[in-house]
Symmetry: C2
Subunit: 205 residues, 2 copies
Amino acid sequence: MVRKTKEEAQETRHRILDAAERVFHAQGVARTSLAQVAEAAGVTRGAIYWHFANKADLFDAMMQRVIGPAEAGCLDPALLEAADPLAAVRGLALDFLMQVARDPQHQRVFEIAIHKSEYVGEMADARDRHLDCARRHRVLLEAAMRKSQEKGLIAPHHRPQVAVEGLIALIDGLLLNWTLDNGLFPLADYAAPIIDTYLAGLRTV
Amino acid sequence: MVRKTKEEAQETRHRILDAAERVFHAQGVARTSLAQVAEAAGVTRGAIYWHFANKADLFDAMMQRVIGPAEAGCLDPALLEAADPLAAVRGLALDFLMQVARDPQHQRVFEIAIHKSEYVGEMADARDRHLDCARRHRVLLEAAMRKSQEKGLIAPHHRPQVAVEGLIALIDGLLLNWTLDNGLFPLADYAAPIIDTYLAGLRTV
DNA sequence: CTTTACATACATTCATGTATGTATGTATTA
DNA sequence: TAATACATACATACATGAATGTATGTAAAG
């Protein structure tokens, strides 16, 4: 059986993406060949080269499938309309961390992105997309911080840009270390008190 | 000219390590062959295989040469004898971040470790060493946090383990994002206020 | 009948590890 | 102290395997 219906073709595409997730996670991106991905997916390399241009393209698609929807949720401009923007920021950060802590697919993909791939050469596309997305987050968060400061929720001596950079560092650092060894500490338990500690620091004079 | 004196041999060894740093940084570890490292060092692969067992061993040596001394300084148990352990922790964290911000070699090596290598397979040695070192840091920092709490420098509702995990996340996150794009924010300027914000949060009731 | 969705087969490029060559430093001996 | 023997510090050459990309085959969907 060779030629499939369009739906079946999409299913094999997803099977390939699933397999890539598993194998990339287990061996790292650079150390896995497309033949290994194909075997894990139950197809041949021909199928992979039909759906994707090369390994970088496959990697891109794998990341986008999971991170694309997630990042959309994090970029809600309604953040600025909240009565308490700082609380809204807190909610966004915790939602994000909790989603990763709960969903094993998110965990796997972030672990691949952070610890099992090299942001270099042909992976530059993914890197650029990440940087652009991060920049938009910074812009939005900085606006929220400024608004919080206007409302007296943040002490006046804090610079909004600095406050944002610290918050992002905290979130990314938690993700970095938890994905490095998820037995090290319970992210779902630690996330809230840690974020709250930082935000409490922003309130102090 | 073939056989060199021991000092000359050590010099070529360091030339190889320097070259590895540059090429790994430019292309990523997985995407560079030992032939490229050899060319950059002005030697042949024979020289590399004489001094190192393989690429993983070379990578290990390159990391250890820079990180080894640095991590020794961060593990000073005198931390616990300080009159103000929290201030001592602050000093340690800032010293570390400032050293990376100032020394381009540290910057390069951390950038390689974080963004341009895959902690997988044969790199497991480096990963294990990193994890073990991080664990010792956590033990020491947790003791310092506990002592700070006994002295009333940290509000009683904070759990020392959680406080430590937040601090480490903050430091690692700053390093992660700054090495990702060192034009994004000035680490030397931002480090102190961000760390201080978190520590201020630890003092609040 | 044409295009799709793959499987199969092929050619080519590299990177690795090892084996071997070789000239020089260094210790030993006489 | 000079001759000798051995180890060192590489360079060179080779064999092997593996991964990639492409070209071609093919059967069924549309």
